[in-house]
Every structure is written in structure tokens, then in C-alpha cells.
Subunit: 219 residues, 8 copies
């Protein structure tokens, strides 16, 4: 539970039983677990294992992720907002990984979907919403231009996630990653499809913001 | 003089005398020559050689390019406009290669500089100008997002040039090239820094447009 | 329906129901949809969904692509011809993507297959046909030399599509892409297997040509 | 002056006069400028140009960077601390870029040098200092392991800079970049040698923290 | 049996019968065989074939590897210890390949699991155990920082194995490989997932150590 | 003097004295030496050293190569012809390396320059000459399409040399190399700019042809 | 039937019916066809189709290749020998592709298997056999060192085939390809796994040798 | 002085004064320093600085490396031999880095030069010498096949160094590195040109061997 982030378990490529066992161990020791890149079969085995492990435990599914929580776990509440922005529908599951981490960390999440740069008015229409967040996560595939455009509109730090939604040269997310690293604005980047990491990094910023507010209030 | 495009001579890496001799030969046989990626020294030698070769010949310098023309050469005139757009000042010499080819082919060129995506209002302010062109060339380095944004604003074909102006991962133009190939709008691409090729391709479109207009007029 | 191009839906990797729902939404809002990289199962589900969505709607299959049109949709007609050339039979489905976009945009398409550079007389025999087009699309895999050869024969702009039909070093289309970007003639390039994009770019050129002719006629 | 970050001017590869002119323009319009990757000659020309441009203007040199400020410019002051950590002496100039941005943005900077992972006690000895920062920047070359180790020790967000100080396979910063993107802890990354970007992103976090504190105080 | 290392047979991609036949041939001619990267089905066929080939032969399974030995084979015994260290559970099967080779070569193996660099106290707690080995093998995926940290703690030679357990940029083991090659300490490296090679190289060091001790004892 | 090929000495990056000493040693022991990638200064030092080493020795310069021969060396004569074909003038020095090896091995060389694929009639005009060779070497840069076209015209084996004459993506010869490896005809390839190797391989074919003829004549 | 090489049909990735139809067309027009990279199912469909197409046609299977011949086809006979050498058993199917082409072209083939460089005596034992060939094909995977060693032993031209039999960094044949291109002896190379191309190139050399012998005999 | 290895200082790219100051600091604190990749100018400045720093200090030059030692430093002596083998003369400076480390660590070094695989008898002639070493370092460029051949001949561990002595595809040492990682024998690898690291790793093995012998003697 270091840094307020739930333990992340990457299901991809592991046997369903192994995933379930890693998750229930985390549930028992830390009160929760976040499993990412789950297949339907892995989800079913996990669901059954969670039920067996603790009567009141809940399991919440977010496209390819699942958040498991003990009935005794009390989620913190942060005075901070994270905007999570996607370019297209294919970016959804990656953004969901980020969102579930932020919500679990206690941040307020404002999710803004489908505002890719091919039609600029869609993103420009959302400027005020994005500007009211303390930190912004932007997921985009193909050429990955959206984070640059968003960072040009807001004052808050932007964390960019390249998504592996293209095809051909650079289509596995490498074009988007390289573009984000080359951004002519200020932003920082996580690995391809690393929604979990971006959400966790945004949560750490939200926690720093929240801590500052609480400290100031106490004074 | 195939396709109305001047002979292109890439000076980079050649001895000044070799460049001058290739250019004066082209001058004598086709009435003109376009030399690209010239150093100052190569330019001086070329200038002298052109003077020697033909009394009335002119030499026009465009940043790193030079257009040599015989006094007897008559430039055609096309009923077509090419917009040439750059993201930043470092894209200038590459866009100049494109511009000199288009002008030599007889097209009207509308040059629009410094409208990179980090400040969207600059490009949005130019929408009408760009929309009035028959074909658009866009040069951009770093993440190379500008052609996608322009292609989202106009109806004409967009030809994108990735520029090698970055540093670090993908900074040699590879990030921009990959991003342009992955563009979520419709555009076509030339090689990194290939201003000459983009200008020539735009000229071919301008010639097709001009031909259609003249044919229709004759009918 | 921006730029006269049908909405493109990439089926590859999406559940059949998602593909069908994206396509019927496009059908209802824009009168048509072009679905690319369809499996047989995705096609069956799409076909049923289109039938359900609108009584008179038609669905046309082109190897791995499908064009869906409302009975009320009226296809425009352009005074412009696109030649679409392939090197070999494996380039067929990629060229089909390009062809269906061009036809839907209203251009006349002249399709010339199987004229790869290993037997030059086949392509030389077609010189006159290719020369009579306003814009040329060339799809080629392996070393991707065909677009360069075609661009050496014609006056119209050439748009090259690298095809992922090889094996070994560069066989995923990277050799063809790099070769086309390095072409010693003038041409522009789209991403590997991006038939849709090449067809759309050719349509934009055809529309510019058609617009010029109509404007001239009106004058 | 968007986002409180001084205009960044990359000197590398530009003629000294061009650098000086870009910097004095920024000085006149925004009151300051940060020039990075300066040679000695570029610095001398810049220094003279700044003197000419404004009597009271100051120029501060930080290894390869220079911060130019108008006498009328008032630096803000943020209630937030940025720790800047380096693995070895070769990381110094890159970390300096980050530091000068953070100081100019008004943050308190705590600089901790030469604590690379080959001798763990050096970094462990600094744990308390690093833990008292609101956000941490870590610059490391070769295998780039230091940011992961730091992120395992602190609760604040960590921004990692890969440095191009190696040789052989991956020695141009690519090994460090890939390692940081693969980090098994939570952190975000900027491009190779992009000290300016990392410093600016840390400043944005510091500004968010400061804003939260001031807002809470007002309430 | 050159160099005391069992014949290694890579099962991956071979038909089960071919694997079984290669292994039983090695069993008959050298008294043993080590098969790596076995599927469950390949294991079953191998098990049956070994039984058929020799009555008393044994087969030992180690995650994805299997060691086959004749009843007449006498394992040597070396006066040398190899420590085998892993960063996380996903590194287990690769480390198992190394361990089975070392044990078969006659070395004492001390296996230390799950001491990745994200939580430094776990590896620091094991310093004494690792220090008492004659040679150390370290398997780590993602950013592959563990071998560098271990090499900073011990005096013995360290052999590093990059593991392909990541995702995104460098996730196929390339980030770990590049990082290990760039290590700022002294270590040598084997190919991605090459547990067999690392174990064999460690065995050769153990044999050199053992030989020196025996020679000295005789003198 | 294995295989009838002169000792090849790569001058590039070596001190002039080291080059001269390697060459004179080869001269003394084998009667000749071929030095490639010579600078002007290296050539001058070599020339003087050869004169010093042997009174009657000759040195022949071929663009960047130099062939040194003892007065006592007797060049063999092969009943076989090698055609050496280049796409453009920049391919000259690489083709020269091949030519000097072939001539020194005793083959008849037919050199055909400047027949790149952008203007097909130039190469088609040379069909008969190329067809009368026993083996063909083709050097081409940029997209490297010429060897494929030549191999489609002749019956003899074709050996292709990719030349590093481009710029941008694949411009260092990688595009040409990949294209030649992907050729849809039959040919074999040597490394980028490896004129010496291609000439030597062609000489080995010429020697096999010559040997067959002589053997048959004797019978 | 250009150049005496049977039409090659790459089965991989094509529907069985398409493969069968391409092969029977070639059978009918040229008297034979060589199909490579066949699955078992594709082979069965092909076998049936050949039977249907022509009563007396034969089909010969060589691991993953199949040679189809009309009863009326008369294989030529060349006075030339090709040695085909493999490093290990995994190189077998690739070498088989080469062998079937050479035999069909009429050359005598001498096949030498399993002489990889890890045990030098195996290859040294075969020196005389290899030396008696007119041209040598060598297939090797992993580090691909065998062709260099063979080329050091013989006087005939060596054609090297890199095989994709490794794993990890460079394991897809890229390490072997790069090593062969860098060979410190003289050899030429074909693409990864391109047994067909290597066999065809060796056949062209054999044909040149045979032609020379016959011409000399006639004289 | 951890692990008995002198402090390594990489001179390349550092100002001569910085190199000298790092070296004299190391001299004063640890009694010695090894500076690698020195230019002539850096060497001169270093030499003067060492003289100034300590009257009796010595400086030994080894091609591009220099070993500095205090008069009070006592070199240990190990009962262990390291064979250092090179393929060609260009590998010399890299092997020298390894040799100076090993000698400074106290091992006996047996240096064997110029035994590349193109002429196998040279390496076979040295088999006995190589076999009598406790550990073997092999430096090779181009295709890097020599370490595999050596590892096939000896029982001791082999540490391979890829050298950046080639040109074209893979010529910067990447071909040799990939080939060594793919070796079909057992060996471990260091980064391209990393003679220092290979020598240090060999010294660690030599120290383990020496320790075992001394321990056994005491018992
Ligand atoms: N989707 C994800 N992206 C990145 N890291 C993840 C993800 N899911 C889990 N992790 C992290 O991966 C590591 C788990 O590795 P493992 O021990 O192999 O399960 C932990 O550090 C997790 O926090
Ligand atoms: N800047 C440029 N970019 C791309 N191609 C160019 C450029 N300048 C000249 N060329 C073309 O390069 C070829 C010249 O090749 P070369 O014969 O080597 O000078 C011709 O086809 C020119 O049209
Ligand atoms: N075959 C194709 N190649 C390239 N782009 C396509 C293709 N099919 C659809 N598209 C485009 O991909 C985008 C669809 O993205 P998505 O929202 O993820 O379905 C749209 O811009 C389409 O026009
Ligand atoms: N030639 C070399 N190859 C590899 N590492 C070296 C070399 N020379 C010095 N080093 C190491 O590089 C590090 C020095 O880094 P720096 O602090 O930048 O001088 C130390 O760990 C040295 O042991
Ligand atoms: Mg996007
Ligand atoms: Mg840009
Ligand atoms: Mg092709
Ligand atoms: Mg570091
Ligand atoms: Mg790890
Ligand atoms: Mg060419
Ligand atoms: Mg091999
Ligand atoms: Mg070598």
C-alpha cells in the first residue's frame, strides 16, 4: 500500500488460478487489489476466488481491469481532481486502468472521451472542464498528438499515455510514444498502454496537492 | 524536365566543383537547375560557375537551396495555389525547398509560418487562407502533429514533411515520420526533410488541377 | 462525411457487435460506412445488422472490406480518373480498400493488376492506360519498387502504398515503406497496408481536379 | 510565459546571432529567457546582445544553460520543494537545466548529486532529504536504474530523465529511457537529456501544490 | 558432455516426438539431457519416451524444464556455491533453467527469490547469503536493475539474465538487456531468457574454482 | 592470395602510416594489395611507401581505392566476363572497388553506368550488353531497385550492392539493403557499400566458369 | 521458367485452394511448380488438386516444400555440383528448399548436415567434399558463423542463408543475417530463411559453369 | 577499490583537465587509476598532472588506455591465468583495456593476437595455450564468431567482447553483439568495446579461483 496505490497485478499471460491467488493475497494483506489486462475466463475465476476469500469483499469490473476490495477497506478522500481524456474509443480500456487507480486513491475523476485532434472543436469545447483539474491524464494512439494539444490549453501537469491502437510503421504504440517524448509542450510520459502507471502517477500528484491543502488548513 | 519539375541536385557531401558542373550542365540542357543543401562555399563556387556558363543566367538563393535559370527559360504559369505551412522557424529551409519547386513549376504559393500546435489559435486564425489553396504542404518536426491538425481543417489534399529538428528518442525526424504515417486523418507523406519531393508532388497536383481547368475552358 | 470520404471503420481486433454498431451508426448519420479488415464472422454479423437497421440499405463486399450504403444516399460523380495499380495478387485486398473509397467518392477507377517489376514488359504495356489517369495509386510489397517505375512513366501524381507481403528482414512492409520514401523519383507515401488512406488521398486530388474543371466550365 | 515556465531556446545547431536574437526578443516580451545547450561562443555573443538589449538585464550561466532576466522581472515564490537527484557527475548539465527552470518558476530546489546505484549507501543516506520534497526529478544515464530506486523510497511523484552518457548498445540514452519506461515502480519519464522538460513538469506540480496551499489558506 | 554441462534441448516449436527422440538419444549417449521450454503435452510425451528408453531413468520437472538422467549416471560434486537471485515471480522459470544446470554440474545452489529493486530492504537483507557464493546469477525483467545492485554488494562475478516479462517499449526483454549491458558496475550478460546459458557459464566458473581448490589440496 | 583475390585493406579510420605498412607487407608477401576507402593524404603516404618498398612496383588509383602491384606479379587471365552496373554517379566509387578486384582476378569487366530505374529506357537499351556477361554486379542506392530490374532481364547470377547514398529514413543504405533482400527476383546481396566483397564474389563465379571451360577444353 | 528456375509459390498465409490453383496453373503452363512453406492441410489439398489436374503428374514432398511435375516435363542435366551445408537439424527445411530447386535445375547436389561451428572437427572432416563443389550454399541460424568458416576453407563461391532458429535479441534470424553481411571472408547473402532464393542463385551459377563447359567442348 | 578493480575513468568526451583531476583524485585515495579512451592531448595533460600530484607515481600507456599508480601501491598477485584472444589488429586497443585491468588485479595474462576465424589453423594452433588458462577473454568485431569457436575448444569460462570495427549493416558492433548473445556454445558477453568490463569480470573469476586455491592450501 506504499504511496496509497493499490497493488497492481498484471493478469496477461498468467494462469487464472495464479492471478486469483495473487489478488486474494493482496486483498487479505492490504484490503484491496487491482488486476489489469484480464480475459473473461480470468475474471470468472477471480470473481469466484474473491467470494471464497472474504464474504463481504466486492469486485468491480472496468473493461479489462478489476478492482477487488475488502468490506473493511476505507477508501481515502482527496481534495484534488484528475481529468482523464481520451482521443478515441479504442483508448477506453487503457484510460479505465488510470481511472480506477485514481478513484481508489480517493481523487475525483473527470472523464472526457473521444476528443481526438482530427476534429479540434471537440477538444476546444472541453477546455473549461479540463482546466479545472489539478492534474490531467491523456491517452491517445496512432500519432498521439492529443496530449500536446491538451498541454497547450491547460496550466496543470499533463501525463501522457501512448496507446497501441495503430497498424503498420509505429502502430504498436511506438509512434505515439516517440511523438509524446518529442512534444513541443511540457508533459511527461509513461510506457505504451501503461494506464495503471499514469493513473498512479496522477494519484501521487493529487496526494501532494491534497497534502498541501490540508497542511495549509491546519495552519 | 520530366513532369515540369526542375532537375534537383543534392549538394550535400559533393565537392563544390562537382555541384557546379552538374548544375551548369542542367542549365545548358534544360534551362534551369535546383540545387539543395548547399554550404556557403558550394554556393560561391556555383555562383561563379553559373556566371561563366551563361551571361544572362540568374541564381536565386533560398536559405540552403539555389535556383539557377537561363535568361531564355520561360517559367510556366499554373491556375492553382499551393499553401506551404510550417510549425516553427527550424522548418524554414525545408519548406523553402518545397516553395522554390512550386514557384518554378508555375504555381502560386501562399506561405504560412510558425503555426505549431502548442498554441492552437495561431493555426485556427489561418484557416481561411489554408482553405483557399488547391493543395497543402505542411512541414513539422518534433512530434509532427501539425499536418494532422491542418488536414482536419481543409478539404484539399495535404502532403506532410517530417523535419529532423528534435533530439533524443525519435529526434532525427523518425518520431515525426511515424506520427504522420499514423495520422488519424487523411494525408500522404514524404521522407524526412524531403522538401524538394513534397514541393514536386504538390506541383504535380497543381498541374493536374490546372490541366483540368484549361481543358474545361477549351470545351 | 468531411472531405467526401466515407467514415472508415477498422474492424481488425474489435468484437463483431462493436463493428456492426459503429457501422450502423455511421449509416444512419452519414448515409454510408466503409468497414476495412473484416473477418468472415464480422462480415456476417455486420450484414445482419445492416439489414435490421434499414430496409433498403446495401452492403457490398470487396475482399476484406465492406461498403454499406443507405438507399437514400446519392453518390457524387467526379470528372476525374484514378488509376490503381498492383504489383501482385497479394496486393489485391489493400488495393481494394483504395478502390472502394475512390468509387464511393465518385471518381472513375481504372484498375491494373499484376504488373510487378520482375517482368518489365507487363508494366510497359500498360503505359498508355496509366498515363490517362489524373492521379495514380500504386500498391506493392516485398522491395516495393513498382511506384518508382510508374512515377518514371507518368506525369500525374503517384501515391504509393507499401504492402506487408514479404518475410524475413523488412518483410512486414518496412522494406517497401523505406524504399518508397527513398524513391529517386517524385511520389508520396502512406503507411504500410493503408489502402484506405491512399484511396482517400487520391479522392481528394480527384475532387480538386473536378472542382477546377467545374469552376472553369462555369466561367 | 504560459504556465509560469520561461521560454526555452535550444541553442544547439543554431548560429550565435540567431540564438541571441531569439533570446533578446523573449527578454523584451516576457522579461526572461532560458537558453540551453550553449557553446562557449554562443554564450559570449548572447552575453553581449543581452547587455545591448537592456541595461539592467542579468545573465546567469549554469554549465551549458543560461538564464536571462530583465531587471523589471519579479520571480514568483512557491510554497513547494523540488528535489533534483543525479547518479553521477556526467548527469550534471542535464540536471542543471531542470534546476534553473524550477528556481525560475519560484520553487525551492534541493540538489543531491552523485548517488548512483552502484553504491547503495550513498542514496540511502539521503532518504530523509528526498522524502521532504513535494516532487522529485532524477537524472541518470547508463542503465538508468536510479529513478526506480528513488521511487521505491519516497511518497512524492518522481519524474525521470534518461541521460545519454553511455556507449555501445543503448549508450545514447536509449537503454536508460527504455529502463525508466519499464520501471517496476511508479514514475513518469521525459525524453533523453530533456532536463528542461523535466524541470518544467516538476514546476507545474509545484505550482499545483502551491495553489492548493494558498487556496486552503484563504478559506 | 563437453565442459560438464548436460546437452540442452530447446523444446519450443518442435513436435513432441522430435523432442523426445533428441532427449532419449542424449540419455543413451551421455547419460542425461536437459530439455527447456516444454509445454505440458511435450512433457507427457517425453516422460513416456524416457520410461520406454531405460527402465531406471528418472525425469525431474522444474517449471518449464525437465532433467532426464540415466540410473547409471553419477553426478559430480563441486566445492563451489552458486547464488541464483530473482527480482520477481515471473523470473522463476528462467532462473529454474539456470539452477538445474548448476545442480547437475555438481555445484551447491543458493536460491534467493523476489528481491526486486522496488523495495531495497529485501535485497539488502540477503547481502550475507549472496556474499558467501563463489559466483552469482541474477535474473530480472522490466528495467533489469537488480544485477547492478547485486554487483554493487558482492565481490564474486555476477552473470545477469534479462527476462522478457515487461510490455510496451522494451518489454520483450530488450530494455533489461540494454540496461545490463550498460551497467555502471562490473557484470557479464547472456541473451534474453537464456537461463540455461547463464547456469552453464556459472557452472564453468564453479568448475574452475573447484579445480583450483583440488589442485591446491593435492599440493 | 586465397581464392585469387588480392588482400583487401580498409584504410578508413587508420593512420596513413599503418595503411602504408599493411600494404607494403602484402606487396612483399603476395605481390599485390588492394586498399579501399583512402583519403587523399593516405594515398600520398601510401604512394611514397610503395616506391620505397620496391623499385618497379605500380600503384593505380580508382576513385577511393588503390591497387598496388609488384613488377614481378603476373595477373591471371580468365575466360569470363563480369558486367558491373550502376544506378547513378554516386555509386561510382563503390562499383570501382568491385571492378578493380575483378580485373585483378583476371576477368573481363564491362562497366555500364547511370542506368537507374527512374528512366527505364536507359537500362533497357543496355540489355544485350548485360546479357552477354557470365555474372552481373549491380550497385544502387536510395531504394535500390535496379538489381531487381536487371535480374528480370538476364539469365546470369546477379550480385547486388546497396549504396549509402540517400538521406532520411533508410538513407544510410538500409532501405536499399532491405529492398534487395526482399527482391521478388533471384539475386544475392552483400553489405552496404561492400564493393570489394561483391567484386570478389563475382570473381569467384568467374573463376568457376573459367575452370569449367578449361577442364572441358582439356577433355 | 525464366532462368531455368521452377515457379516458386509461397504457401504461408494463403488459403489451401488458392495455393492449389496457383500450383496447377504453373503445372499446366510450365510443366512444374515448387510450393514452399506448406502446412499439412495445404499439402493434402494440393495433392488432390494435382491428381485432378493431370493423370501422370507427380508431387514430391521435402519437409515443408513440395515439387509438382508434369509427366511430360524433362528435367535438364547440368555438369555442375552444388554443396548444401547446414549447421544443425533446425536448418533442414530451409536447406531442403534450396536443394529441391538445385535438383530441379539439373545440378548434382551434395548435402552435408549438422556441421555447426561449436565442434570444429565435424566441419573440418568434410573439407574435401565441400571443396569438390562448384558452388556452396550454407544455412545457419543463431550467430550464423558457419558460412564464414566454410568460405575460409574453399575456393568456390559461397551463398549464405541466415535461419530464424534462435530466441531473444536477434533470434529471428537478424543476428545471423547481420553476421553474414559482416563476414570477414568473401560470401554473398540472401534473406532470412530464403532457401528458395539461395538454391536458385546457386543454380544460376551452376548453369553458368555448365554453359562454359559445353561451349568449350563444342569448340 | 571494491572487488580489486582499479577505478575506471572514461576519458572520451571529457575536457583534459577534468580527466586529469578525476585520475589524480583516484590516485590519492586508492593508489591507482585506469583511464580509458584517451586522446593524445588528454594523455599529455594527464601525464603532467600525475607528475605534479605525486613524485614517484608512474603512468603506463596501453594504446588508448593509461594506468596510473602510486609508488606506494602494491599490486596483489593471483594464482590464476587469463587468456586474452583477439581476432584481428583492430581489436587491439579494446583487448588492451582488458589486459591492463587483469594485470593490475594481479592475474597472469597470456595474450594471443590475430587468430580470426577466416583462417582456422591459426586459432587451432593456439589450442593448448588457451586451454591452460583459468578464464578466457575474446575480442572480435565484424561477425564476432571467434568467441564461439574458442568456447568450443576450451573448458574454462569465456567472456566475449564485441568490437565496433565493421561498416554497413551491424558494423558498429551490433552484429558482433547479437551473434555473441546467440552463440550456440556457452559464453557470457559485455557491451560493445567494453574491454574494461570484460577484463574486470575476468579478474573477478581469477580472484575466485585464487581464493579457492589459497583456502584449500590453508586447510
Ligand atoms: N497494467 C499495469 N501496468 C504497469 N504495471 C503494472 C500493471 N499491472 C501491474 N503492474 C505492476 O507490475 C508489477 C507486478 O509484477 P508481477 O510481480 O510480475 O505481477 C507490480 O509492480 C505492479 O504494480
Ligand atoms: N533535396 C532533395 N531531396 C530529394 N531528392 C533530391 C533532392 N535534391 C535532388 N534530388 C533528386 O536526387 C536525384 C539526384 O541524384 P544524384 O544523381 O545522386 O545527384 C535526382 O533524382 C534529384 O531529382
Ligand atoms: N483501413 C484503414 N486504414 C487507416 N485508417 C482507417 C482504416 N479504416 C478506418 N480508418 C480510420 O481510423 C479511424 C477510426 O478510428 P476508431 O475510432 O478507432 O475506429 C478513423 O479516422 C477512420 O477513418
Ligand atoms: N572503458 C570503460 N568501459 C566501461 N566502463 C568504464 C570504462 N571506463 C570507466 N568505466 C566505468 O564508468 C564509470 C565512470 O563513470 P563516470 O563517473 O562518468 O566517469 C565507473 O563505473 C567506471 O568504472
Ligand atoms: Mg491519437
Ligand atoms: Mg512540430
Ligand atoms: Mg513489389
Ligand atoms: Mg545510471
Ligand atoms: Mg526487474
Ligand atoms: Mg537506386
Ligand atoms: Mg549457427
Ligand atoms: Mg571477427
Amino acid at each position: 500500500q506504499r504511496r496509497g496505490i493499490p497493488e497492481g497485478i498484471l493478469a496477461d499471460g498468467k494462469p487464472p488460478e495464479a492471478v486469483a491467488s495473487l489478488a486474494t493475497t493482496a486483498l487479505e494483506t492490504t484490503g484491496r487489489a487491482l488486476v489489469t489486462r484480464l480475459s473473461d475466463e480470468q475474471f470468472r475465476v477471480l470473481e469466484a476466488a474473491v467470494e471464497d476469500a472474504e464474504a463481504g469483499a466486492t469486485i468491480e469490473r472496468w473493461s479489462t481491469s478489476a478492482l477487488v476490495r475488502s468490506s473493511s477497506y476505507e477508501r481515502p478522500s482527496l481534495e484534488a481532481t484528475v481529468a482523464i481524456v481520451t482521443a478515441g474509443t479504442v483508448d477506453g480500456p487503457v484510460a479505465d486502468e488510470a481511472q480506477v487507480v485514481c478513484e481508489d486513491a480517493g481523487a475525483t475523476v473527470d472523464r472526457i472521451d473521444d476528443v481526438g485532434v482530427a476534429a479540434l472543436d471537440r477538444i476546444l469545447d472541453q477546455t473549461d472542464r479540463i482546466r479545472s483539474a489539478d492534474v490531467v491524464v491523456v491517452a491517445a494512439g496512432r500519432e498521439g498528438a492529443l496530449p500536446t494539444v491538451v498541454a497547450g490549453l491547460v496550466d496543470a501537469p499533463v501525463i501522457a499515455i501512448p496507446v497501441s491502437s495503430g497498424y503498420g510503421h509505429g502502430g504498436d504504440g511506438e509512434a505515439a510514444l516517440a511523438g509524446m517524448l518529442q512534444s513541443c509542450t511540457v508533459l511527461s510520459v509513461v510506457n505504451i498502454d501503461a494506464g495503471f502507471v499514469a493513473g498512479a502517477q496522477a494519484s501521487l500528484v493529487a496526494r501532494a496537492v491534497d497534502r498541501a491543502a490540508r497542511t495549509a488548513e491546519r495552519e
